[in-house]
Symmetry: C2
Subunit: 218 residues, 2 copies
């Protein structure tokens, strides 16, 4: 893709994310093109339909979360018994800080099951599983929490609540994270009820995804 085509694509994605956040995923494509300062023809050349645009916004969201999960994994590998919990803190606060990039999947819109989406989700849970494994090894993290619990916690904590001023959202999220980190220490008295979550998407395997439809790839 040429540099100017890539720039246009990124402008459209940024405009779509902003419009989806303000007006939902039914926001008119005309308005998205206008906000991106491109013609509607340019938008359709990059994204043949709304589903293709939604999908790419969701994929960018997963890439953002994966970046945070990998940064956390690096922290967990550092020395010291407190590194794994610092890694979880890094992940949860990182996702909160990036929440404006996570309009999809956090705010709704369709779920995507093509190969790229499945592989990204597997990499995210893989990195988080590595963080938790390191924590259990070092006796720093309770042993009944899994990567899906952690990912769902990040989603709950980062999703903005209505009628809440932005400055309170951040304070509230950071305070909730502090309580959560203390709850993740070993020596739990409240054991996690089952069944252990393997969220629908964790049952997807990248191998199965090889045969999944890819028609929504932008």
């Amino acid at each position: 893709m040429r540099a100017d085509a890539r720039r246009n694509q990124q402008r459209i994605l940024d405009a779509a994310r902003a419009m989806f956040s303000e007006h939902g995923t039914a926001a008119p494509l005309d308005d998205i093109a206008r906000r991106a300062h491109v013609s509607i023809a340019t938008l359709y050349r990059r994204f043949p339909d709304r589903a293709a645009l939604c999908r790419q916004v969701a994929i960018e969201g997963y890439e953002t979360v994966l970046g945070e999960a990998r940064a956390a994994q690096e922290v967990a590998e550092e020395g010291g018994p407190d590194a794994p919990l610092r890694a979880v803190e890094r992940f949860l606060t990182g996702v909160v800080d990036q929440r404006s990039r996570l309009v999809l999947p956090l705010f709704g819109g369709p779920a995507f099951h093509d190969r790229e989406a499945i592989v990204l989700r597997h990499r995210i849970t893989g990195s988080l599983e590595a963080v938790l494994a390191r924590g259990r090894e070092r006796g720093a993290v309770r042993d009944d929490v899994n990567s899906i619990d952690l990912l769902m916690a990040a989603a709950m904590i980062s999703r903005p609540l209505p009628n809440t001023p932005p400055e309170w959202l951040d304070t509230t999220a950071r305070r909730h994270i502090a309580v959560h980190l203390d709850g993740l220490r070993p020596g739990a008295t409240h054991h996690l009820p089952g069944p252990e979550p393997e969220h629908a998407f964790s049952r997807e395997t990248p191998t199965a995804a090889e045969n999944a439809p890819t028609e929504h790839r932008a």
Copy 2:
């Protein structure tokens, strides 16, 4: 209000809650009347405009949360050092169980600042403050968490995440609550960052509310 008028009003509110949940607060009033099996004239007689209808759905939501907060307060007053944490558990799981009644305020819509809304919110935080005070007294709850933290936790945990099957939502919420309860025990190593949240509405006082507009009362 006569019995049939009261029944109609409740039917309209139930239909509005369902429509707001599925289509947002801009859902056509005609469709709400149809779903409630009442004429649009009956709807307008009970609720002169959309704001009045939204407000009453929100008020019913607050009443539901207040019911859960008061039930928790009763549990906290029971004997034993573990009663206060059981009370918090009662509150958080109660709100999760009632989430379909909390479409507003959880899903957006305007904030209401009339006397009835303010008094309800004060009663909710008052009951939660009593639960936490009992917990601190008995050395069962960390001393840096306040009622707004607890209310925001309930909101975060009970708000459904998109693309997540209902059965997983409940499991995920219950597991998050278990971690949170362990995090609320004394002996915290992750201290809550400031500033301590006094959410916008906690600065409202019922006295100030005496002079607040009440034009939206249904």
